[in-house]
Symmetry: C2
Subunit: 308 residues, 2 copies
Amino acid sequence: MDLAQIHAAFRRIAPYTHRTPLLTSRLLDEFFGKRLLLKAEHLQKTGSFKARGALSKALTLENPKGLLAVSSGNHAQGVAYAARVLGVRALVVMPEEASPLKKAAARAYGAEVVDRGVTPKNREEVARALVEETGYAFLHPFDDPLVMAGQGTVGLELLAQAGRRGVFPEAVLVPVGGGGLLAGVAAAVKALSPETLVLGVEPEAADDARRSLEAGRIVRLTEVPRTRADGVRTLSLGERPFAVIREKVDGILAVSEEAILEAERLLLTRTKQGVEPTGALPLAAVLEHGAGLPGTLALVLSGGNRDV
Amino acid sequence: MDLAQIHAAFRRIAPYTHRTPLLTSRLLDEFFGKRLLLKAEHLQKTGSFKARGALSKALTLENPKGLLAVSSGNHAQGVAYAARVLGVRALVVMPEEASPLKKAAARAYGAEVVDRGVTPKNREEVARALVEETGYAFLHPFDDPLVMAGQGTVGLELLAQAGRRGVFPEAVLVPVGGGGLLAGVAAAVKALSPETLVLGVEPEAADDARRSLEAGRIVRLTEVPRTRADGVRTLSLGERPFAVIREKVDGILAVSEEAILEAERLLLTRTKQGVEPTGALPLAAVLEHGAGLPGTLALVLSGGNRDV
């Protein structure tokens, strides 16, 4: 993935997405003794960066009949929103046991939820059958270059916003689950500012990305990790994100559940921003690994859709 | 109070305060079937509008030795911040029984907390004795024209911000406790846009402002009201705010505790903004009285300092 692809994604999605603000907080800076730049993707359309990737892909499809996704999280809302932009239907496959709130959130963005008889095990199969039946386009949440390029626009924007303020982020911290956001941001940042470190952050309970980078191959978790960061409960990195991450990312930091909770709390009390646990991962890394990190850090607050 | 005083306050405080954003939310607008403009004072310095009033007053003092306030809430932080701007000390008188978190918050902004032997009953007396002893300047939280003028800058800013977007707020909803914010905003709004309604919002459990307006005189509560909106647990309006409110405010809406809680929740889930109960009062009024309100509303989200 190169910068031209991310620029192209930016041109496609810009009319339908927010340039989310790059927030600063004197209170947080004093607390940490660092200069923090917070890329506020919880204020993105649909409440997370996932709208970028879904739109980036959807806007390249020629007259799709509809969009189809497997997701019980932010990707569902991203795809529902992309379908609305295109004026087509969205089907979202979710396990019957998924929370009624998650189903309601997808429906609120206009998606039709398919859940009857769906289990965490058979959902991919259900989705394949539905694609056959309906002819709708399948949107993968991360293992797709067009989706990764869409997420990479987060990196483009944050460097431009920091630059306009004359601030140079020495490291960018990004949550990592399937790896689409981390790969996209790393591709953008390393193309524009090669000396800036790009670091992934994941929960200790789901440290497959760190182990994958060490092993030089994708390490899969054997069961769904128990972490409050529900946006990164993936079993492994996608192949395409891993190829980019392996080449461009400088390291992966794992954080405890306590640090995630404390980071959420700090964001709410000091900046009044309601960020979901996954979105608080980068600040959790500053809490636990701050001593080893440079003084000026950009943190990607990836989303704000807390499961209430 | 006239517009010139509010303009003067704006010129004094502008270098030390944020022009807080006027937020909009498609989700909230769809939910309510209205157009809402959210004046984000929870993102103000110190986390509430109180910094405006404290600075407005403090910046007119000639070489004060220090500042002194009686407050266990946002006014304490406002005064502490104003003292920091002036480079003088701040003393804040708080009951011994006030929450350790509130004391810590005031100290975090650099205030010295005086609480030994202080009770809710004797705190004014303690403060008077301290003013005698120290020669520090006493800053009232609302019953002061310079403080009211400072709070009025919220109204100036929100009309200018709405105007730049070509939006005309038909009504402005403002939390009311002691009345400094409501009086200041009403003075600004009625001077610049007389046809815009200005409405105060208070909890049903603390509906003294509504009763005062009806009675044509200040009605005092007999005990501290039980409401989650801790920013408006005052016993009555101040005399100076009441004189302005009586002349300029179109009405007072009272809201239930359930509506306040639901409004906080809506702000967090739909806009990702962490607003304190008092700051959610205007949205609570839209929940409970929306049918009787015009279509384009400006809501003053007065603060974000939740007692955790």
